[in-house]
Symmetry: C2
């Protein structure tokens, strides 16, 4: 599998299976047709047409919208149409720079195809032969990507937390990185993708951070998400990534972005360099 | 002027003023309608329709296409329709990873709206307060952007030169960076934009390199392009960039990309961070 194939795989979607979702006259997401048709039964909450779904303007405040959507989804959950809530609230906006219009349980973010954001940390040790990257192996009991390889630290961004606050929290929970060390993590850009999943549409932006850690550092997982940590040469990481799907589905973007920024992948050595680099930050529909 | 406004300014274009340009059944560029209409008079070279312009398939080899196009353009040049040649050949491909279909004088690249590539080098000194960036002031007698601020090294990529070979050549000519030091420049990604100019359409990809230079380094220009060099804090560079158009038109993308990768601009401090970062690498039409 080429590096570019990972990007292609992460951006598979057919918008023909969805209709746009509007809140306060802004397009904020995409809903599967069969979900949209069921939402039509909740006429006080949703206005459903063949070309779109909108929250009723009578739901005028974020709190009203949040409660009305959650109540509807609890009915759909009992019918098995949507997954159970994860009791973590995500903020819903038309664009990442706008104020939230309402909040949605993390489990239901793809159901409405709204924008979501997370943070991923490349933890690395700098050496004479280039960087070595910390790679995490996810626990086998995880709902998402059990047993897959992951970045040293990664996590979704809950409502009310900034990217840096999310990073600090996840550094502590996932890898036992103390606040002093975590504060040295450097924001280095973002990657993005739009993936169709069974649940709906994942339109994700991952804020990328780099943290150079000392040789003596050893990560300690505190929240049960990670079963083991390994320190690999960046070349071993890239070979493993190229050879299959050992990594959690969205981690290849973060690692390829690191390899591009570090000059490991170069325009002279990679014939697909330009499309590879463009592919790491797809514009989201 | 906001950072984002620089990106907006660099991507202004109206494709309604152009029609697509095809070679060997691949779309390789865009031609202004008024140029296309004149090309229709050269029926052995161009097949011109209202929806497109194509090189005749009888021009079967890159050399045949290169010669036929150059001959046509010398006529158009005498009529004042296109600028004089700069006697530097650029390779024309449908995508950056494909083999060249023919070669075009650098001056005529925007006339056909074909993809072009260049290299830009961020030369910096690392210090306790963050990086300081070398800034070049272009000579007042330059045809392009006289007197404007520029990166330490920048240049277009001629046919037959790889990105790194272009960089090495420009490092020597523009800043007197010896091959040993230039070889330490690290590829760090790319930026791209599509700008409508009087001449036509500029669809440019700039391969970005970073080079940390010692405090003792002093650039020396050898080709007359640069009148002076200054070493500024990255914050001074960003302030100057934000405040107006002191920089050559495409340099802000390279500097903003550097500031993002270095963690100077952050998702917590820049409300527009995601659209800013996406804007640095626009997909080209």
């Amino acid at each position: 599998m080429s590096f570019h194939q990972h990007i292609v795989n992460l951006n598979r979607h057919d918008l023909g299976r969805f209709r746009p979702f509007f809140v306060a006259e802004r397009k904020v997401g995409w809903v599967r047709h069969r979900i949209a048709e069921r939402l039509a039964d909740f006429g006080s909450v949703f206005d459903v047409g063949s070309f779109g779904v909108a929250l009723r303007p009578t739901l005028a405040t974020p709190a009203q919208r949040t409660d009305a959507v959650a109540e509807t989804l609890s009915v759909l959950r009992d019918e098995g149409l949507v997954p159970p809530p994860r009791h973590e609230r995500y903020a819903v906006s038309a664009t990442l720079s706008e104020a939230p219009l309402f909040e949605l349980d993390r489990a239901h973010v793809p159901v409405f195809g709204v924008l979501s954001t997370g943070v991923h940390l490349n933890g690395y040790v700098q050496g004479p032969d280039g960087p070595r990257l910390w790679v995490a192996r996810r626990a086998d009991d995880r709902a998402v990507a059990p047993g897959k390889l992951d970045n040293l630290v990664a996590g979704g961004r809950s409502a009310g937390l900034s990217p840096r606050e999310t990073l600090m929290k996840e550094c502590d929970e996932e890898a036992g990185i103390d606040p002093g060390m975590a504060a040295r993590a450097r924001p280095a850009g973002l990657v993005s993708y739009c993936l169709e999943a069974d649940l709906g549409l994942k339109r994700d932006t991952l804020f990328v951070y780099d943290l150079e850690v000392p040789e003596s550092f050893a990560p300690v997982n505190r929240d049960g998400e990670i079963a083991a940590f390994m320190l690999w040469s960046v070349h071993a990481v890239l070979e493993t990534l190229r050879d299959g799907d050992a990594f959690k589905f969205n981690v290849p973007l973060v690692i390829l972005d690191f390899a591009v920024r570090q000059g490991i992948l170069t325009p002279d050595s990679e014939p697909d360099y330009a499309s590879l680099v463009h592919g790491l930050r797809r514009s989201l529909p």
